[in-house]
């Protein structure tokens, strides 16, 4: 280590021009892919995200059915889950 304290002269360091165009990025991507440096970002998860309130994944139903459930829940002042629970009860009774 030098005796002189390490001090950076900011004036000696400047930002240099670099090509940041999408064409330049594509060229870098292409060169990388040829050497095995490929896209390894995790694929985005498909489907509905869990409810922020309950952490549960929403049931996948057709949009018109979802709207009807939502409207009925709003009319009765209950959570949509209550409607689905009632529907489940009906279903269970039906198959008994």
């Amino acid at each position: 280590m030098s005796d002189k304290p390490f001090s950076i002269d900011l004036g000696r360091l400047r930002s240099r021009e670099k090509d940041r165009s999408s064409a330049a990025v594509e060229r870098a991507d292409r060169v990388g892919e040829e050497l095995g440096f490929i896209d390894r970002e995790p694929a985005k998860k498909r489907g509905r995200k869990p409810s922020p309130r309950t952490g549960q994944v929403h049931a996948k139903v057709l949009p018109p059915v979802a709207d009807e459930i939502a409207n009925e829940a709003r009319r009765r002042g209950v959570q949509q889950g209550v409607i689905i629970e009632e529907a489940w009860d009906l279903y269970k009774n039906q198959i008994k």
Binding site: M1, S2, F6, S7, I8, D9, L10, R12, L13, R14, S15, R16, K18, D19, R20, A24, V25, R27, A28, D29, R30, V31, G32, E33, E34, L35, G36, F37, I38, D39, R40, E41
Partner: protein
């Protein structure tokens, strides 16, 4: 200010340790340093959470492929040094980061495996230089080295030198204080004594000086 990319497709080569040592030493010497954590293992972010960040350091986490170039552009300004820490994997993120670098540092343990895999980063840099029609300065730093140099270390060093590879001296030695950075956060000067602190600080500062000398030379040319 320069963008320094710390890249090697080999995991466990000492990328995050080298990036942290470099960032903290450059900041200690008066530079404003922005560190981009592009590693899903989030080593830099974990270090940043351990203790208040040293003065003049900022850490940005979760920088992915889509936003990397934009993020570097936003921080690649006069008065600021950008350090990019990457995952030890051959990914598109690595090739994109290299395309934006003023200096690429490839940390490498002095083992045949590290050298073999690490050389892939050097090949990529050479290919990108041709594709982008600009010189991308790059250098290798040996990490986790010991006072007594193994025959394997000497052989790898000679081989790289013969190929014209720029080797940063001093290498980063295997030191308790370096690994303790990720346990205690902060920098080597704020940390309670872990092993021989004077030697660790001298090693870290010597490494940062060597990197700074390359950046200043590049700028003058």
């Amino acid at each position: 200010m320069p963008t320094i990319v710390v890249a090697s497709p080999k995991g466990g080569a000492g990328k995050s340790t080298a990036a942290t040592i470099l960032g903290t030493e450059l900041a200690h010497a008066g530079a404003a340093v922005t560190m981009l954590d592009c590693d899903p293992n989030k080593s830099l972010s974990l270090w940043a959470e351990r203790a208040p960040l040293p003065p003049r350091i900022r850490v940005l986490s979760d920088v992915g492929e889509g936003e990397l170039v934009r993020t570097i552009k936003r921080h690649d300004l006069d008065g600021e040094i950008v350090i990019v820490d990457l995952e030890g994997i051959a990914s598109r993120l690595v090739s994109r980061a290299i395309s934006q670098a003023d200096l690429v540092i490839t940390p490498m343990r002095a083992t045949t495996l590290d050298a073999t895999v690490g050389v892939r980063a050097l090949q990529l840099i050479q290919e990108e230089e041709e594709a982008l029609d600009r010189r991308i300065p790059h250098a290798v730093v040996f990490t986790m080295t010991r006072a007594i140099r193994s025959r394997q270390h000497s052989g790898i060093e000679t081989s790289l030198r013969d190929q014209g590879v720029d080797l940063i001296e001093p290498s980063l030695m295997e030191r308790t204080a370096f690994s303790a950075l990720f346990e205690f956060g902060g920098n080597l000067r704020s940390m309670s004594a872990q092993g021989n602190m004077d030697a660790a600080i001298a090693n870290a500062e010597g490494f940062a000086r060597a990197v700074y000398a390359r950046l200043a030379t590049e700028d003058a040319s």
